[in-house]
């Protein structure tokens, strides 16, 4: 009986177990190359740097959970960084922050509105949004690079709390990532709205018949995605102080970080769960990816190799899942 339960548990949480295994392997490899790699401070540093990706991945998880995808996430993030720096000029804090949140929420709302009400396919809509934002970013800031973050924001985003002896403390930015994860996890599991989102993810038609206002759920979710993109953008701006100008390469500004968030969500298993995935799994996936990238960097495989690994991970996981599903 107990054995059966264990088997059931393993089957349900296969993906989580696989990521855990992968995480241990990657950490072991890192530890063999340099023992310092496993020092708590070093691991915390890696997670600190990737907490931005973590917050953006939460947004992508929510959108993918309801059966969509947000390709404009990364460009919203960059737009906020560049405009925020220009507005703040090193002194103003609250006004520019408010404007940034308004911009991000408006972008998310427009995405949601066009997808829900005008029925434009989500890939088309958010890709178009990405390209529009790229244009707006260059027309308004010439690629950014000017301006400066307000000092309180900088202090806040590089702050660490609870330093004990050698331990340098937990970065506030990481704490925010964890808080967002817990918060959205609670919303998804314990509120009516969360249940509606899951219902939509598992079966959009059944959702409609059971009386859920699908359009509203879609609009709110995309708006939340915009809100989270702004949060991540402001936290990055604080750390970067004066952001470097970005040179447009690829399909649009921020495409690469958007793709990283999708990789994390797919790895976490939300893509196939039919409403069963969640931000907790994505959290684990981001932790795994951060450690993996850091090890890859250590052995001299830089950004282009990480991109290839992202693609392989997506195809392997999705491929094996789809094959398994078509068998049953």
């Amino acid at each position: 009986m107990n054995k059966e339960k264990l088997q059931q548990f393993c089957r349900n949480n296969l993906q989580v177990l696989v990521i855990f295994g992968g995480l241990l392997v990657v950490m072991a490899i890192g530890g063999i190359i340099t023992p310092k790699f496993l020092a708590v401070n070093h691991i915390i540093d890696i997670l600190y740097l990737n907490s931005i990706l973590g917050i953006l991945a939460i947004a992508q998880t929510l959108v993918i959970l309801i059966g969509g995808i947000d390709m404009s996430l990364g460009s919203t993030y960059w737009l906020v960084i560049m405009l925020g720096a220009q507005f703040m000029k090193g002194e103003f804090l609250w006004g520019p922050m408010l404007i940034c949140f308004l911009i991000g929420i408006t972008i998310g709302f427009i995405n949601g509105y066009c997808i829900a009400k005008l029925k434009i396919p989500f890939v088309v809509m958010t890709l178009a949004m990405m390209v529009i934002i790229t244009g707006v970013l260059y027309v308004t800031t010439g690629g950014g690079g000017g301006g400066k973050s307000a000092e309180p924001l900088t202090q806040f985003s590089i702050q660490r709390i609870l330093p004990i002896g050698d331990f340098r403390g937990i970065p506030v930015r990481m704490l925010i990532w964890i808080l967002f994860t817990i918060g959205f996890s609670l919303i998804l599991n314990h509120t009516t709205f969360g249940w509606k989102m899951r219902a939509l993810g598992s079966n959009i038609k059944a959702g409609r018949f059971s009386g859920i206002n699908i359009e509203r759920v879609q609009i709110v979710t995309y708006t939340l995605s915009g809100f989270l993109a702004v949060s991540a953008g402001l936290l990055y701006l604080g750390q970067a102080r004066t952001p470097y100008p970005i040179f447009q390469s690829g399909a649009g500004v921020g495409a690469s970080i958007t793709l990283n968030t999708i990789a994390a969500v797919v790895l976490g298993g939300t893509f196939f769960s039919g409403g069963n995935g969640g931000v907790g799994r994505t959290f684990l996936a981001v932790v795994f990816l951060s450690i993996l990238y850091s090890v890859l960097n250590m052995i001299g495989l830089h950004e282009e190799w990480q991109v290839i690994f992202n693609g392989l991970i997506i195809l392997l996981i999705v491929g094996s899942y789809s094959k398994m599903r078509s068998k049953t």
Partner: protein, 303 residues
């Protein structure tokens, strides 16, 4: 009269193209020159060749990078290698979608990652050499008139229309796009058709990549990226329905010419070239919005 109406309805995209060109000529005297029209055809070639598949931009980039590395050694062999790479990528995409039942969006997205990475390893910074002999062939001009680009567009258009309208394969593609289940019931090998479509798309993108490399005279790991978006707009604008199964190759070509002209006009009226990103994005949303609106209306009428 009825006949005229249906012609108008079917060919509306060409009428838009003509109106668009007429207005542009009024606005800008430059637009009246032959060389401008040639430029439009040159810009439109990669757009025409690339279809609907998220990895197309990356395949074009990869092929441009390979071209810049290989062409200087042996042109014939280089082109064979590039086309083979195109076929292999298309096969992987097709098999993933058809046999492993991977969602096409995720399949081509994953390929995009991998190919982009490979391109930047091959060519970390823009550069390389494209031999003049190939450039002279692909960008051949008589006076101001760019002959080869013009011919490429015409030939592609005829080939595409012939394939889709006159061959059994074309009919089968429409059937699979419209309703894969009924297609399967009626004995079509759906998996085979899907694989063929992905191979075609990828090979066309590889050809487009060679063309792009000739145009910019170098290889660049992100050379093809912007064409992904252009191809989206063009395919929708050309009347291919989002849901699949309906679409005309000629419409796609006219739409490609409109987008290429648009880029040209923006250069002439002397505003920042970044505006074309905004304009293209807005056009895509509008076009697909209008399409979906009419589609829903028709559906309601049918009910």
């Amino acid at each position: 009269m009825e006949h005229l109406k249906t012609v108008l309805k079917k060919q509306y995209i060409f009428i838009i193209l003509l109106i668009f060109w007429a207005i542009s000529m009024l606005i800008s005297p430059f637009f009246r020159t032959v060389s401008t029209f040639s430029e439009i055809f040159i810009v439109a070639v990669p757009i025409v060749l690339i279809g609907f598949d998220l990895s197309v931009g990356s395949v074009a980039s990869l092929s441009a990078c390979l071209a810049s590395v290989l062409l200087q050694h042996n042109q014939f062999l280089a082109i064979i290698i590039i086309l083979t790479v195109g076929v292999v990528i298309g096969l992987i995409n097709g098999i993933g979608v058809a046999k492993f039942k991977i969602n096409p969006f995720i399949m081509t997205l994953g390929m995009m990652f991998i190919i982009d990475g490979v391109s930047s390893i091959i060519r970390p910074s823009p550069g390389g050499i494209i031999p003049d002999s190939l450039k002279n062939i692909l960008l051949y001009r008589i006076g101001d008139f760019a002959l080869t680009p013009f011919l490429i567009i015409i030939v592609t258009g005829l080939f595409g229309t012939y394939l889709l309208k006159k061959r059994a394969l074309g009919r089968q593609i429409y059937a699979v796009g419209g309703d894969p289940k009924s297609a399967k019931m009626s004995g079509i090998n759906v998996d085979k058709i899907k694989i063929i479509i992905f191979v075609l798309s990828s090979v066309f993108s590889a050809i487009a990549g060679i063309f792009i490399a000739c145009r910019i005279s170098s290889g660049n790991a992100s050379a093809g990226a912007s064409y992904l978006f252009d191809s989206f707009i063009v395919v929708f604008m050309g009347g291919t329905l989002v849901s699949g199964g309906v679409g005309e190759f000629s419409g796609t070509i006219a739409a490609a010419l409109i987008i290429a002209s648009l880029v040209n006009i923006i250069q002439f009226i002397n505003i920042s070239s970044w505006y074309h990103y905004i304009i293209k994005g807005v056009i895509l949303v509008m076009v697909s919005g209008i399409q979906i609106y009419f589609l829903n209306k028709r559906r309601k009428l049918n009910e």
